[in-house]
């Protein structure tokens, strides 16, 4: 260290700071007890998972994609499909109804 810096250091150290109070630790513990009861208890699983995901953005995207895939597949397999023939014989698709006429136009156009 240069002599100039040493002299400056000596001068700066004339500026004393107060010492911690005797009850410093006790006050900190009181605040912790007041403020962080939830933090001390184990958080519910949802919050733990959420916090874990929030701290890892790449995992959040991957988890969202995986969740979407699982939900989509589940729905695809869970919802029963009506047989097409039964659907075509529905009274709603009778040729006298708007839907039936439209369907007739489409099938004629296809031919």
């Amino acid at each position: 260290m240069k002599p100039d810096d040493q002299r400056l250091q000596m001068l700066l150290r004339a500026w004393k700071a107060p010492e911690p109070r005797a009850d410093f630790e006790a006050n900190v513990w009181n605040r912790i007890k007041q403020q962080s009861v939830e933090a001390i208890r184990p958080a519910p699983l949802f919050f733990v998972v959420r916090e874990w995901l929030v701290s890892r953005p790449a995992w959040t995207s991957a988890a969202a994609a995986a969740a979407g895939l699982v939900i989509g597949l589940n729905m695809a397999f869970a919802i029963p499909h009506a047989p097409v023939a039964a659907f075509m014989n529905s009274p709603l698709l009778d040729s006298r109804t708007v839907a039936g006429s439209y369907l007739g136009l489409l099938t004629e156009g296809a031919r």
């Binding site: 150290r13 004339a14 700071a17 605040r31």
Partner: protein, 213 residues
């Protein structure tokens, strides 16, 4: 003044700060008492010199330890590659900057707090004229340090008062060691110029008491 940086990372029994953090995470509150006992003084001093207000420094230092405890107890908390002291001073710096921003927005409220708790500064034990000079010197140093840009002030306080190595200061400020050295150089140059009057006084031997007049 006890140099701080060189003894910051290992307890007398060889336990490191991060070992204590692991114990706190596992629910050992005594480990937190050890950390607090070790760091309360440097942390309080740093915040005091940033704010120049003893009661605010006390309040903020306590708040920093609460935040540190709560952060360590979070399941997502992970140790940083840097020294624990760097992380701790980073938390302290952020809390202090938040407070200083708040004080800027609410000048009347912060003035009231300072007036009310101004007595928290340590008792004076020297003779009146000597104390007056010392007080003037302290106030001049505090005022000059307060004029430094915040990043230079942080570097100066951590280097000059807490003896933190430059690499750890760089971790606190998230910058390079070169940048820390540059800021420290500029801060010292500014203070040498600004405090030149006291600089010369401090080199002279104390004037004999009770002579003349």
């Amino acid at each position: 003044m006890v140099p701080f940086g060189w003894m910051a990372h290992r307890m007398p029994d060889g336990t490191t700060d991060w070992d204590l953090v692991e114990r706190i995470k596992a629910g050992d509150d005594q480990a937190f008492d050890l950390l607090m006992g070790h760091y309360k003084r440097p942390l309080l001093h740093f915040i005091y010199r940033m704010t120049h207000d003893a009661s605010v420094a006390d309040d903020l230092a306590q708040d920093v330890f609460v935040r540190v405890y709560q952060n360590i107890r979070k399941p997502s908390f992970r140790r940083t590659p840097a020294a624990f002291s760097s992380w701790l001073f980073q938390v302290a710096r952020n809390a202090t900057l938040d407070h200083l921003r708040w004080r800027k927005r609410h000048p009347s409220e912060s003035l009231a707090v300072m007036d009310e708790h101004g007595e928290a500064i340590p008792a004076r034990t020297r003779s009146a004229p000597e104390e007056a000079v010392a007080h003037e010197t302290r106030e001049a140093i505090a005022a000059s340090v307060a004029l430094l840009p915040e990043d230079q002030r942080t570097v100066l306080l951590l280097a000059e008062y807490e003896d933190l190595p430059h690499a750890e200061i760089a971790d606190v400020l998230k910058c390079s060691v070169k940048s820390v050295e540059g800021r420290l150089f500029r801060a010292r140059r500014f203070l040498r110029h600004r405090l030149s009057q006291f600089f010369h006084e401090s080199l002279q031997p104390p004037a004999p008491q009770g002579i003349g007049k």
